[in-house]
Point group: C2
Chain length 385, copies 2
Amino acid sequence: MTTIGEGPPRGFPEVEFAQRLDRAQAYMHDVHMDVMLLTTEENIRYLSGFGTQFFQSPTRPWFLAVPKSGKPVAVIPTIGAVAMSKTWIEDIRTWSSPHPTDDGISLLAQTIAEMGSRIGLPMGREAVLRMPLNDFARLRQRLDGAEFIDASPIIQALRLVKSELEIEKIAHACASVGNAFDAAPKLFSVGQGDVEAFRRFKIECLNQGVDDVSYLVGGAGAGGYGDIISPPSGRKIQTGDVLILDTGCTYDGYFCDFDRNFAFGTASDQVRQAYDTVYRATEAGLAAARPGATCADLYHAMHGVMTAEGDVGRLGHGLGLQLTEGPSNTPWDETELRPGMVMTLEPGMAFGDGKVMVHEENIVIRDGAPELLSRRADPELPVLG
Amino acid sequence: MTTIGEGPPRGFPEVEFAQRLDRAQAYMHDVHMDVMLLTTEENIRYLSGFGTQFFQSPTRPWFLAVPKSGKPVAVIPTIGAVAMSKTWIEDIRTWSSPHPTDDGISLLAQTIAEMGSRIGLPMGREAVLRMPLNDFARLRQRLDGAEFIDASPIIQALRLVKSELEIEKIAHACASVGNAFDAAPKLFSVGQGDVEAFRRFKIECLNQGVDDVSYLVGGAGAGGYGDIISPPSGRKIQTGDVLILDTGCTYDGYFCDFDRNFAFGTASDQVRQAYDTVYRATEAGLAAARPGATCADLYHAMHGVMTAEGDVGRLGHGLGLQLTEGPSNTPWDETELRPGMVMTLEPGMAFGDGKVMVHEENIVIRDGAPELLSRRADPELPVLG
């Protein structure tokens, strides 16, 4: 059992974090923000390099306070001190967590107070506050007179355009998963339970070099499938089924997010036609994905090809440290495409009796034509076995 | 490649959800709560049975509104309607998400307003609000005059004691991971990179029957390891190393969470002694884990055996739909143990030069002695190769 495709180097040189911080502080300066408080895995990681699956435990809060100038300060549970000391962060303040009455709040309030009173906190689209609301109320009380403003526009602007080192990691995840999809004929077969099909695909992705199969949804149904967000149902794959697998795998914290469809034994004209339509919608998206075009342009380019849209709310999105990031390919998102943005093109269309055909590719916007990070899907629905 | 150990049936009979809801509504009645608003994956899943990895996408909020009487109402993005319709929930209200100006807030406000004005929201330990703060402010504005109270005590009480069907799922995850740890001699070897060691272990867990390896941390170091929350560092395993792997794998949404330590070639007296001490601390925990004892009692029983505690904040915790749940084995958590509670015993101790020895087992509290869900670790540090 050998691992194919060793990935690019892990982590980033310190200069990458310095550049991110410079950009963050320039944005903060523009809106007179004294300190930006980050509480979530991906935002803390983006500015510190601190990567741990420990965020899956909801017990302990983690804080990164970004001042107007100088490096961010980490205010974290003692259990994370060793891991944080391996990053470029120098000022690491810890408390013993969980704590019966003060889970880092007094230490955080003191740290913030040193930095100023106009505090940015991501409050908008895609943002959550990863700390108990009761503790947030306590923090506000301790920071009496402080003003809280929305830092989401800064976070979105910061993470929108990826560096080449970030793109390399996403590209590796995409290539590994592409190899796993190429192995479909040996992984999937009629009579196989969908739980087993999912398991074999996850193992193949790991063997191909991703770190984690964080996200795998889909399933199989006769002539197509209608539920694109569920785990496997326990059903056995049958002749005439179409299997859709949509996966977000990670490498060094960065996600790919694309899907593939497979028919078994035979495929109806109806499903072949749906596949073809959505394939052409993706082609239209690829043709429209140019610097200066907007996400709304991408939406309209893809939507124009399709005959009956299912309501998935959007036809693709940003991609990076999270499975989905802004912007969204919707009629109302006027974000301009810029070189270095990593996006999914994800046209989806209802067809037949409650079925959905969804295609997805991952691209990076370049000067001129976009670069495909996922190897392009087959132009025709692959039929296995 | 065959899967060993097919797991117990997936999902729950409807009566299990009805019982959970009855208990929730009894608690709500006690504190005059009109409606309980749930926003996170595990709480929504607990009362609805809605299971999807789609929560990894931060873009769309999901809401479950639990009224004083009658079934919960789902207020969710259209993309989840098919999946939610497979659960016992009947009243499913959807909107097209993401939305430019109103991401479900008016629909949610209307739904809540039908149910009353005293609104419970988990605000305490382990709770986060999974929606943008800006949207929460909009919701409060629309529900002018409503009172928000902390629903965390209700959530904690609800999920504290597991049903036998829940325990079966955790037991299956534990048994599968136990089999994977038993395969250590064929998985790990001197000269192997830790990234590869992690990958092989993840694959073995999947082959043994878990759905996902959601969490795997640890690493190897000469004579012991000091950073128990990081991903692999890229280091090659050497003779004299001790490898610790701590994993949370899931089956049908339920976690196991335990670790194992392995030495390579040789083990120093110091690390053998640390292993022995922490092993005996676990034994003391097992002896103390009786109905009526408290989590503080568990802490003291384990802590009393150890000579120098590293500050990990606690020596174990609850386990279920999340990798860590309340209560915590700390000197200050006076939660009484009751039959059906699933807990980890996780004594950890600093030793040598910045190293940590951590053991972890998963148990269910029973009348009399607890039942081990994880097969007990070897009484002596296993030496591989």
